[in-house]
């Protein structure tokens, strides 16, 4: 049989029952569909952040907002923009890599490999959450929270703005209240979106721990495959994927 006829048969029988047309199991398809819906939720949050930003004359400069680093900032007054979030991003990328290596080990029914990489993935997730907890605490001590800086005086928020940015100094001179209003909006979105992402990381860590326990107990070994690692892996990579966009929207742009 030629390749072309094989392909034709493949195509005609694909939708006639008895097999999965996508060659993907039900659970995995549902995980993908859940992730699509979750992508729409995160997308809506980030787009509304963008809409508010586009409708504001001024916006806080991320390099002025996020400039501290644990321990190091205790010894120096020098601002360290982008440094801490780069570390967080790197931790999350690494934990995504250890997850994909756990999935890989699962493909080969390598129980020890799955245990090792899952353990590292969980540690990475916890490290990321610890970093986020530090950042939230730090920002909280600077007065930032949901609803903060509402109608606040200009002096309390002025340092968050880059006056050299075209239009910023003029807009604040015209109406000083825009600075506090933009800071208020900025922090509301920041805590909501990173909080929603952090909640995803938290539930991901819990799922990963359940996965590790099941692997150690030999549940997947008896089942004959490690597809559960793949499914939770999809979720974990998605969390990393969302962070890529959060990183760009909040810290770079």
């Amino acid at each position: 049989m030629t390749q072309a006829t094989t392909a034709a048969i493949e195509k005609s029988t694909r939708w006639h029952g008895g097999r999965s047309p996508y060659n993907v199991s039900y659970g995995k398809i549902m995980m993908w569909f859940f992730l699509i819906s979750d992508a729409l939720t995160f997308g809506a949050l980030l787009i509304s952040y963008g809409t508010t930003r586009f409708s504001s004359n001024v916006w806080p400069d991320p390099n002025a907002v996020f400039h501290s680093f644990p321990v190091i900032s205790n010894f120096t007054d020098k601002p360290l923009p982008l440094m801490f979030v780069s570390l967080m991003t790197f931790i999350l990328i690494l934990s995504s890599v250890t997850m994909v290596l756990a999935v890989h080990a699962g493909h080969y029914n390598d129980k020890k490999g799955v245990i090792r990489w899952m353990l590292l993935t969980i540690i990475g997730g916890i490290c990321f959450l610890a970093c986020q907890a530090w950042e939230w605490t730090h920002l909280y001590h600077t007065g930032a929270w949901w609803g903060s800086f509402f109608n606040a005086p200009l002096e309390s928020v002025q340092h968050l703005f880059n006056m050299h940015r075209p239009g910023t100094a003029e807009a604040i001179a015209r109406d000083p209240s825009v600075a506090a209003a933009a800071t208020h909006d900025f922090y509301n979105y920041f805590f909501t979106i990173t909080g929603f992402h952090g909640a995803h990381v938290t539930s991901g860590v819990i799922l990963n721990i359940m996965l590790l326990v099941n692997t150690v107990n030999g549940t997947y070994e008896r089942r004959g495959h490690y597809e559960m690692v793949e499914k939770v892996g999809l979720y974990w990579h998605f969390v990393d994927l969302v962070w890529v966009f959060v990183f760009t929207c909040f810290y770079l742009l």
Binding site: I47, F54, S55, F90, S96, G224, H225, E230, L241, Y251
Partner: protein, 147 residues
């Protein structure tokens, strides 16, 4: 036809745990130290390196623009392009979407095309609000003029 169809209790698999039927990827591999396995692991680490390098480039551009005081649409475009690159590699390699059938890839990606419209429509809306507030529709300014 794949080997899974010769399974003895195929009915129980349909009704119960379906993953044994469909995850053809998993049935062929046995040796984690095989040449094929090593190649896949190497690819994963290469992508890791790529994601890290792209992030470092982003941070370098961000810091450079910050200290040089540069604000340009070019930098924003570069950031967005690099973000898409990172996202594409995560989805394609880490989430193994590149290994799925083409029609399933479309099932996942086509709905997300909605974002093109979402982003354009909502950002344009925000921009228009700013325009209105800064010009004739700004009641605050009108009040200030009246008093």
């Amino acid at each position: 036809m794949s080997a899974q169809h010769h399974h003895e209790d195929i009915q129980s698999l349909y009704e119960g745990d379906q993953s044994k039927l469909y995850s053809g990827v998993m049935n062929h591999h046995t040796d984690i130290n095989s040449e094929e396995s090593r190649k896949q692991v190497k690819r994963i680490w290469m992508i890791t390196l790529l994601l890290s390098v792209v992030t470092i480039i982003e941070v370098a551009i961000g810091l450079g623009a910050h200290y040089a005081g540069v604000h340009s649409w070019l930098i924003i475009t570069i950031f967005l392009a690099l973000t898409i690159v990172k996202a594409a590699y995560i989805v394609r390699v880490f989430m193994h979407l590149g290994d799925e059938q083409k029609n399933f890839v479309n099932v996942v990606l086509v709905p997300l095309l909605l974002f093109i419209w979402f982003i354009i429509a909502f950002l344009a809306d925000g921009h228009f609000w700013l325009h209105m507030n800064n010009t004739q529709a700004n009641t605050k300014n009108i009040e200030a003029v009246q008093h």
